[in-house]
C-alpha cells in the first residue's frame, strides 16, 4: 500500500468511527510480526510482502529499539540485526512507503522512539506514521496509565492504539485499558516475553472470558507457532492470532544459513498460510458469535 492512500486523512477520533484494523478481524485473523529491516532493508521488504501473500490480515511491523524489554531472545536478535543494518525511525517510514502490499499495518515500537521523533514529542511521530499509511501503534512499554498523550495524537491523526492485556490484567485496570484501546486488543497468552513455544498457555481462555463484554477484536499473541495453535486459540474465542517469534525464527535461521531471500520468503509465506488456515479452522470449530 502506498502512503498517499491515507496521507490526506484528517484528524478525528478513531474510536468513534470505523477502524481499518478492527475491520480486518471480520473473519478469524492472522496477525504476523516482523522487525522491519531484519536483516536488511530489501530482504525485509520481501519478507513482509510474503506474509501478505500468505494471508496476513494485519501486519505488526517492528521499529527496533535498543532496549526491547518486552521481547524474548528471538526478537531481541532481530532488533540487533535490524539496528546493525542501519534501521532508524525515518528509514522505517521509508520502509513502509516502499512496501507494496494491501494489508493494514500496525507499528510496534517502544515509547522512547515515539517520544524522540521530530519536533513535537509523540505528535510528530504519529503524524508521520499516519502520513505513510500506518493504521495503528502497539507500544509494549506504554501502559494505559501513561498513554494519554499518545492516545490523543492517535486520535488526532486517525490511528488506532492497540493495548496489551496480560494474564495479570483485571478489574479496574482492564476497564481502564478497554476504554482507551482501539483497532484490536493484544491478548498476551502468558506472562513473560515474546517467544515461540511448543505448547500453548492455558491463561488464554481465562483472559478471553474476562474480555467477553468488550466489543473490540481480541488478538492473542505470545507463543503461537503452528496452525494448530492458531486453531485452538481461535476456537477458545479469539478473533485472531498474533505470531512473531516463529516467523522471526525463519528469518534468523535463513540469515544464519545464508539462504537466498526468495527461499526464506517462501518459507515465511508457507508458515503464514498454515497459521491463517489454522485461524480459519479454529473459527469453524466454534459457534461463530454474532457480531453486533
Amino acid at each position: 500500500m502506498s502512503s498517499e492512500d491515507r496521507a490526506e486523512r484528517t484528524p478525528q477520533n478513531a474510536r468513534e468511527t470505523s477502524s481499518t484494523l478492527a475491520d480486518a478481524f471480520e473473519e478469524p485473523a492472522f496477525v504476523p510480526y516482523l522487525a522491519a529491516g531484519d536483516p536488511t532493508f530489501d530482504a525485509s521488504l520481501e519478507y513482509v510482502e510474503a506474509l501478505a501473500r500468505g494471508g496476513a490480515d494485519v501486519i505488526e511491523l517492528g521499529l527496533p529499539f535498543s532496549e526491547p524489554i518486552a521481547e524474548g531472545p528471538t526478537i531481541q536478535q532481530a532488533v540487533v540485526r535490524s539496528l546493525a543494518g542501519g534501521m532508524t525511525p525515518e528509514r522505517f517510514f521509508e520502509f513502509v512507503e516502499a512496501l507494496d502490499i494491501d494489508v493494514p499495518l500496525a507499528c510496534m515500537t517502544y515509547y522512547n522512539l515515539i517520544y524522540q521523533y521530530g519536533d513535537e514529542p509523540v505528535r510528530s511521530f504519529v503524524e508521520r506514521a499516519a502520513a505513510v499509511g500506518i493504521e495503528g501503534l502497539v507500544v509494549p512499554d506504554l501502559p494505559a496509565e501513561e498513554a494519554d498523550p499518545l492516545r490523543a495524537a492517535c486520535d488526532e491523526f486517525g490511528l488506532d492504539l492497540v493495548f496489551i492485556v496480560a494474564p495479570t490484567t483485571a478489574g479496574e485496570r482492564l476497564d481502564h485499558i478497554m476504554e482507551r484501546v482501539s483497532g484490536y486488543v493484544y491478548v498476551q497468552a502468558r506472562l513473560g516475553v515474546t517467544g515461540a513455544r511448543e505448547s500453548l498457555s492455558d491463561h488464554t481462555g481465562a483472559t478471553l472470558s474476562r474480555l467477553e463484554g468488550y466489543d473490540v477484536p481480541k488478538a492473542v499473541g505470545f507463543g503461537i507457532s503452528t496452525g494448530e495453535h492458531a486453531a485452538s486459540v481461535v476456537e477458545a474465542g479469539a478473533d485472531g492470532v498474533i505470531v512473531g517469534s516463529a516467523l522471526v525464527d525463519i528469518v534468523a535461521e535463513g540469515h544464519e544459513d545464508d539462504a537466498p531471500t526468495a527461499e526464506i520468503a517462501a518459507e515465511l509465506e508457507s508458515l503464514a498460510r498454515e497459521l491463517k488456515t489454522g485461524a480459519i479452522e479454529g473459527g469453524q470449530r466454534r459457534p461463530r458469535p454474532e457480531r453486533t
Binding site: 529499539f65 535498543s66 524489554i69 518486552a70 522512539l113 517520544y115 524522540q116 495479570t168
Partner: protein, 412 residues
C-alpha cells in the same frame, strides 16, 4: 508517581498489577509503618548493616582545602557500600508482601552483592542478572554473590553491561511477577521505585543531619555525592531538599563529554549534565541517547556509574536548579582515588572517587576556584574500593598520574 514531568510507569502491561501491588505495599509498610515494617527495617539496618555510619572529619583534606570537609562513611556499611540500605529494605518488603523469590540486576556487582546478602540474611531465594562483560570484569563480586547463595545469570545480549542486565531482569519479572519481587538497584525504574529506593536511602541524610547537629551544632553547608543512577546521591540529599544546603551531584565525565553517534557510544555517563529527556527502563528521565532515541552505550572508569539513565527525581531537581550537576573525568577520578587512599587512609570506590575529584577540581592547588562551597562540606563516601583494586591499578598504569603509587612488589 511523577517528579515534574519525570518518572511514571513505562512498563509492559503484565508488570502493572505487580507495580500497583508494590505501590500499595510501599504506602502501607514504608510510608505508614504497617506491621512495624519500618521499625524492623531500621533495626536490621543497624544490627546487620552497621548503621549509623560515622560522619568523620577529613583532617588532611580539610587542611588541603582550607575548609571543613566531612565524610559520610557509607563505605563502612555491610557489603562495603550504601547499597544495602535499599537491598535490605526491598527484600524485607518482599517478605512482608509474601513474595517467594528475589531478582535483581547488577552492573559493578555492588547492588547484586547487597541484594544477595540481604536475601541470605532474610532467607529468600535470589537470582542476579549480570552482563557477561561485567561478570568477567567484577569477579570478586560474582564470587561474593555465589557465596551468599544467589544464582548469578549471565546476560549475553548487547555489550553485556548494566543496561542489558536491567532489561533482562525486567523480562524475568514479566514472567514471574506473581511470586517474585524485582529489587531495582537505584532510584530508577517505574514508580514507586524511585521514591521507595530514595526513602530507603534517606537514612544517609537523616544521619548527616543529626550528626552535623550533634558534632557541629549546625547543618551542612554543602553535600557532595557521586551520581550514576543516583541512589547514594538522593540518599544524601533527601532530607536537605527544603533546606539551605547546596547539593552537588558529581557525574562520570569518562574520557570526554562528546559522543560518537555513529557507534552509539557516549564516552561518559553524564546523563544529568548532558542527557536529553526520554523514557528508559520504566521512567521518563534524562538519558544518553542518539538523535533517534536509541540508548547510547555509556562509559566510565567506574562501572557503577556506567549507566545511560539517571533517577527521575534528580532530573527534576536539576531542572529546578535545586541540584547542581557537575562532571569529573576518568583521570581526575583516579587521582582522587589515590589522594583519598593516601591522605585519609580510606580507599574509596571509583564511583565515590568522582565526588572527591570535584573537590580537588574546585578547591585543590590547581583548582579553578569556580565553586564557592558553603561550609562544612559533607562528601558521601558511597562505597569502599576493594572491588575496584584491579581496575584502579590497571587504569592507573595506563596513565601518567602524579600521585600514583608504584606497584612493583610482586614476583616477576
Amino acid at each position: 508517581t511523577k517528579f515534574g514531568d519525570y518518572g511514571g510507569q513505562y512498563v509492559p502491561e503484565a508488570l502493572m498489577p505487580a507495580i500497583e501491588e508494590l505501590t500499595d505495599a510501599y504506602r502501607r509498610y514504608v510510608l505508614n509503618n504497617e506491621d512495624g515494617f519500618m521499625d524492623e527495617f531500621r533495626e536490621r539496618l543497624a544490627d546487620f548493616g552497621g548503621r549509623p555510619t560515622p560522619l568523620q572529619r577529613a583532617d588532611q583534606l580539610s587542611a588541603r582545602y582550607d575548609t571543613e570537609v566531612y565524610l559520610k562513611r557509607e563505605d563502612l556499611l555491610h557489603g562495603g557500600a550504601h547499597k544495602l540500605n535499599n537491598a535490605l529494605g526491598q527484600v524485607l518488603l518482599a517478605k512482608y508482601m509474601g513474595k517467594e523469590r528475589i531478582i535483581a540486576e547488577t552492573g559493578a556487582g555492588q547492588h547484586g552483592t547487597a541484594t544477595a546478602m540481604a536475601a541470605a540474611h532474610l532467607d529468600m531465594p535470589c537470582e542476579i542478572y549480570m552482563g557477561r562483560r561485567d561478570i568477567n570484569r567484577q569477579r570478586p563480586n560474582v564470587f561474593r554473590m555465589r557465596l551468599n547463595g544467589a544464582a548469578v545469570t549471565p546476560v549475553d545480549v548487547g555489550r553485556g553491561t548494566l543496561k542489558e542486565a536491567i532489561s533482562e531482569t525486567m523480562r524475568d519479572w514479566a514472567t514471574t511477577v506473581e511470586t517474585t519481587h524485582y529489587v531495582i538497584g537505584s532510584i530508577v525504574g517505574p514508580a514507586p521505585f524511585p521514591a521507595m529506593v530514595r526513602d530507603f536511602h534517606a537514612v544517609i541524610s537523616e544521619e548527616i543531619e543529626s550528626q552535623t547537629a550533634e558534632k557541629l551544632d549546625r547543618s551542612p553547608g554543602s553535600v557532595v555525592a557521586c551520581a550514576g543512577g543516583g541512589s547514594n546521591t538522593m540518599g544524601a540529599f533527601a532530607e536537605f531538599l527544603d533546606d539551605d544546603v547546596e547539593l552537588y551531584a558529581v557525574e562520570a565525565g569518562g574520557s570526554s563529554l562528546t559522543v560518537d553517534e555513529e557507534a552509539g557510544v557516549a564516552p561518559h555517563s553524564a546523563s544529568l549534565s548532558t542527557g536529553e529527556e526520554g523514557v528508559l527502563h520504566g521512567a521518563r528521565t534524562k538519558l544518553l541517547q542518539d538523535g533517534h532515541g536509541q540508548i547510547m552505550e555509556s562509559h566510565s572508569v567506574s562501572s557503577g556509574l556506567d549507566y545511560a539513565g539517571v533517577g527521575p527525581q534528580l532530573s527534576h531537581l536539576v531542572d529546578e536548579g535545586r541540584v547542581t550537576p557537575v562532571t569529573v573525568d576518568d583521570d581526575d577520578a583516579l587521582e582522587a582515588f589515590h589522594r583519598l587512599s593516601q591522605d585519609e587512609g580510606i580507599i574509596p570506590a571509583l564511583e565515590t572517587a568522582h565526588a572527591f575529584g570535584f573537590l580537588e577540581a574546585a578547591l585543590g592547588p590547581d583548582g579553578d576556584g569556580s565553586v564557592e562551597f558553603a561550609e562544612p562540606i559533607v562528601v558521601n563516601v558511597s562505597g569502599r574500593g576493594d572491588k575496584d583494586l584491579e581496575a584502579a591499578i590497571e587504569e592507573t598504569e595506563k596513565r601518567d598520574l602524579e600521585n600514583a603509587p608504584e606497584m612493583e612488589v610482586f614476583d616477576q
